[in-house]
């Protein structure tokens, strides 16, 4: 497993703009009197999961670095939506920090009715990890690249791709539209279910975030295409969708969220403190266990990423509903 001791390697487009060196944040400057009590970390997913582990690890780092007290609780439901909705009612005193996913604010407000928030309802002091997606198929499939897969779909009249989230279904549909072929997303009950359908040969391919990596290493599967703007270390020869000329990506970040209107001085303090925690050795080691490296876009970078992705999804759903 490679552990890169680089502090930030954001994978998204937004990352290029965020080239500020880490040292700037190494000492977080906090206003006097903050925090006036414990800072609650509210995780948008259940205890025992990946985001939960990230939040708990970073909370421990912040407690060590800053001397703060940070209890971690979980508010799972609706793909992170329950936690986001609950933040709307929290005081903007910087004592409640949500830990969720960018997808919940970029996609959900447009995909579902009755969502009370948009991405503009919150502030974002930083991100913690990037999730990258790949299109993968069984190793003995008669196609090895996105282009060959598209040809296969064209010859057969259709090809099925198991998926685990709306964002991924949309990515499949957009790739299909780009090439004008019939790709059918088959929604599974989570990533494991989608992977199982592909491993059993019940679908022609699947889009996965991380569970397929060891399948590739074991020689059971191959990656046809990488759905973010840079190639990934476990499939260095696989082209990205951008390289293939398809402007479709599906990336997400583990995201810190604040209720709107927190004192800018406190926001700067939190941004700095979180950046220091995501750069720690202990956190880098946890990321290595997840087969990745820390990815903190910082506040400005997070907003930029979210704004761009939200605009994309808004346009897609507006076009669908017409």
């Amino acid at each position: 497993m490679n552990i890169h001791h680089q502090y930030i390697r954001p994978i998204a487009i937004a990352g290029v703009l965020f080239a500020t060196p880490m040292a700037v944040f190494a000492e977080a400057e906090c206003p006097a009197g903050y925090p006036s009590g414990p800072i609650d970390f509210v995780v948008a997913y259940g205890a025992g999961g990946g985001t939960d582990a990230i939040a708990r690890m970073l909370a421990t780092q912040l407690e060590e670095n800053m001397g703060w007290t940070i209890p971690v609780s979980n508010k799972p439901g609706a793909g992170g939506g329950v936690m986001m909705a609950s933040l709307l009612g929290e005081a903007a005193d910087g004592l409640t920090v949500g830990v969720g996913s960018t997808n919940t604010v970029t996609l959900d407000p447009y995909a579902n009715e009755g969502i009370d928030f948009t991405w503009e309802s919150f502030d974002y002091p930083g991100t913690a990890m990037a999730v990258t997606f790949g299109l993968v198929a069984l190793a003995d499939a008669p196609y090895s690249t996105l282009e060959e897969f598209i040809d296969f779909a064209r010859e057969n009249g259709r090809a099925t791709v198991s998926t685990s989230a709306i964002a991924i279904e949309i990515a499949v549909q957009r790739i299909a539209e780009h090439y004008d072929v019939n790709l059918i997303p088959v929604p599974g009950n989570g990533a494991a279910d989608a992977l199982q359908s592909a491993l059993g040969g019940h679908v022609d391919a699947t889009i996965q975030g991380s569970q397929h990596i060891q399948q590739i290493e074991a020689g059971n599967m191959k990656q046809l295409s990488t759905l973010v703007s840079e190639r990934v270390s476990y499939a260095p020869d696989t082209m990205t969708t951008i390289e293939s000329g398809v402007n479709v990506t599906a990336g997400a970040y583990v995201l810190f969220v604040l209720p709107k209107g927190v004192d800018p001085a406190i926001q700067t303090c939190l941004e700095g403190a979180i950046a220091e925690a995501t750069a720690s050795d202990a956190y880098t080691e946890l990321m290595a266990n997840f087969n990745t490296t820390p990815a903190n876009l910082g506040s400005a970078g997070a907003v930029e990423f979210i704004q761009n992705q939200a605009a994309e999804y808004q346009a897609i759903f507006a076009a669908r509903n017409n």
């Binding site: 999961g49 709306i166 279910d193």
Partner: protein, 503 residues
Amino acid sequence: MPDISIVFSGLADAFTLGNLLYILLGVTLGQIVGAIPGLSILMALAIAIPLTYSLDTLTAISFLISINKGGTIGGAVPAILLNTPGTPESAATALDGYPMAKKGQGGKAMKYSLYYSVFGDVSSDIVLITVSLPLAALALKMGPIEIMTLMILAFTVIAGLVGSSLVKGLMSVAFGFLLASVGLDPAMGSARFTFGFIELVDGVPLTAIAVGMLAVSEIFVKISEFVVPTEGEDATDSAQVFDKGDQNVTFAELWANRVVAFRAMVIGTVIGAIPGLGSTTAGFLSYSISKQSAKDPEAFGTGDPRGIAASEAANSAVVGANLIPLLTLGIPGNIAAALLVSAFIIHGVQPGPLLFERQGQLIYGLFGAMLIANVFNLIVGQFGMRFWAMIVSAPAKVVYGGALLLCITGMYFAAGGVFGLVIMLAAAVIGYIMRLTGFSVIAFIVAFVLTPQLERSINQAILITDGDFSELAHHPIAIGLLVASVFAIYFLGPWKKRESLIK
């Protein structure tokens, strides 16, 4: 076959003092949490995972698996003694366990439950250790089309659970369908019947429904009996469950139900090895098949040890078998297994096809720990029985009042606040009315548990086959399951019971 030295050094790793203590602690914790209605094993696992960050990998995973194993024993306790199953899978145990306890043989019922549970657990562990690779390959053949037909078979088999009236039973099933359809529509990905509650997007929470319908509604029934005592039954005295003489179970008595127990173990292992199903499905399927295929189905539900064997051996066998897809393919079979995946990853171990190759010693250490946990389960279970016997010897008003309090506080934690609590209490009121009017709560729960999987696999099957039924010809397993469904309706359907009643 892995290197024999790795097998032995792995097994030896399991026998450190620290490991043994954590396994003992895990099993005990699991039995207690499982026995308390309202607290769920999933919740215990989720809370325990962050506590294991500082332990070494084998100890951490052994501890978590021990909690899970302990839970399969503990869940049956309140089901048998109070008829308030703390988990949906132990509801099938209550069907015969509680009538047996009411006859004054509560200790006997608990022993049957403990022994058959450990039997199911040990057997499926042995299957996991010896033939997990071929079984996992077989489980992969179960795609959406096969799962869909398996669900159809499950619905035909559980016909034996509809209760005395077929019409009322079917109405309960329909209600289960309806309530299970709340949440994200698997075909469109849009929210359905959520009435603006974002909490309902993931569906009505199963734990809240199960604890409300099965446990709290029964507590309501009991509390109402304190007010208006029913004739010939002294509801205020729950100590009578240990009244009638010998509470021991002999080997001959256990051996007498060997066919039922073995079949239950096979059903549990197969269901456990297929990702996405789970112990509730296994327990009810096994119970229903045993009942409907028995010469005397009317004996079931009156305190028949075969009922306990069918339920407990099956739902416990799921725990070991669930690790088959997890350890061989990296695919978690249910939520408990998914929590184990995150524990593995946090400790730097990637579950997947290379796990045996890269972490052979750890896996055999884990197998060793699982076998030790089974032994501890048996020992702790024996001691636990005396403890539970003491608890229920308290006045019934205290026992049921305390149980209600635990359900409420437990649900508040498990469901993350008041919303789950409201759902639980609403389910309890509906369950109470259903009990009073003769609608089967069990039929409702089973339909509620099976429906999401049925709907999802129908949707997937339609997408994969492009709606073309002739595609079925390429799926021999699915055809076999459909044929089995027809047989199940004919041979296991409720008509048999009618005939025997007419006679």
